[in-house]
């Protein structure tokens, strides 16, 4: 009941356009106040959960991605994949997804992927006459699904086998982690 109230309140506040952080905080605060729990919990839990070393890695991933970008590594990666699958119809979509696949092996963070590759890819797709919505959608789907793949990557490292050789037959924009996961399981 308590979590139901909190979740509903959060959804309503978020849909009304309150910033997401504040709507999370207010929903939690309202429930805590309503059920007579100590309000001090809010300050203590917020600060203590933000006080984490893994969280510090996020800005550094983005930093690393922008170093890659400036050094031209992403451009080389992009050209390489384009050489392989670029001739297929709709090839740039495949290129986007495959580049994200390789890059996620390097960084392992979804936001860093978008930060590094998104700007190049969306610019190139726009030059080739792709719709903006479509290219943004592909970038989002490819990079966030790869957050899931970084988990598979850890597993692949444990099994000491290569993940990049996994056949990837999915259409661009399709929900592809499952297909490549299935392909990985078949191996």
């Amino acid at each position: 009941m308590m979590s139901l109230v909190a979740t509903c309140l959060f959804m309503v506040l978020m849909c009304l356009g309150l910033p997401i952080a504040a709507s999370l905080g207010l929903a939690a605060g309202a429930v805590i106040w309503w059920y007579d729990l100590p309000l001090a919990v809010i300050a203590q839990r917020t600060v203590n959960s933000l006080d984490s070393t893994p969280l510090l890695a996020v800005p550094m991933f983005i930093f690393a991605a922008s170093i890659f970008n400036t050094a031209g590594i992403t451009q080389h990666l992009f050209d390489f994949i384009r050489m392989i699958v670029g001739r297929i119809r709709g090839g740039l979509g495949y290129v986007t997804i495959l580049t994200h696949l390789i890059f996620s092996g390097i960084s392992g963070a979804a936001l860093a992927d978008i930060g590094a590759l998104g700007s190049i890819q969306i610019r190139m797709m726009r030059q080739q006459g792709y719709k903006d919505e479509f290219s943004a959608g592909i970038c989002m789907a490819a990079s966030t699904s790869l957050a899931f793949r970084s988990f598979i990557l850890a597993w692949a490292m444990l099994r000491t086998c290569s993940l990049v050789t996994t056949p990837l037959k999915s259409r661009p924009g399709a929900f592809e982690p499952e297909s490549s996961f299935a392909a990985f399981l078949r191996k």
Binding site: G17, G29, Q44, P59
Partner: protein
């Protein structure tokens, strides 16, 4: 101003983690204080960014439904959201105050930094958030007729 503090803290966090890696890999010693200081810098980044982002109106939010509304209810919800931000900041400050009644006596493990200083970025950030939110709410309430004239 808050932005500059956040930038310096971000650079400090990066430098501290680099120093930690160098100390670990090259000099084979651990810097136990560097990790805590880096996390403290990370906290400073987060809580200084909160008011700075509100001042620029760049917090992550769902504006899809707001954009679909006609101008009058949209303006109403914009004002409501600013007032709710004030409530949020005030709630956090009260919570922090209550928490400090007990926690201020203790200090952090590695640095021996008093808890009062450790929670200071959160308090300052939320205080700034409160001020920015009040400013925005007052501005939204007083500029009512002009907004309506501007609205398409």
């Amino acid at each position: 101003m808050a932005e500059w503090v956040a930038i310096v803290a971000l650079i400090a966090a990066t430098a501290l983690i680099m120093a930690q890696i160098v100390a670990r890999e090259v000099f084979v010693t651990g810097l136990s204080w560097a990790d805590e200081l880096a996390r403290y810098a990370g906290l400073t980044v987060i809580f200084m960014a909160v008011p700075a982002l509100l001042a620029r109106n760049e917090h992550v939010k769902v504006d899809m439904f707001l954009d679909m509304m006609p101008p009058r209810p949209r303006r109403f919800f914009n004002i409501t959201n600013d007032v709710l931000m004030v409530v949020f900041a005030a709630m956090f400050l009260i919570a922090g105050w209550q928490f400090m009644q007990r926690a201020a006596r203790f200090s952090t493990p590695a640095l021996g930094m008093p808890n009062l200083i450790f929670y200071m970025p959160a308090a300052i950030g939320m205080l700034l958030l409160l001020l920015v939110a009040i400013d925005r709410a007052v501005a939204a309430l007083t500029s009512a007729p002009k907004d309506e004239a501007d609205a398409p």
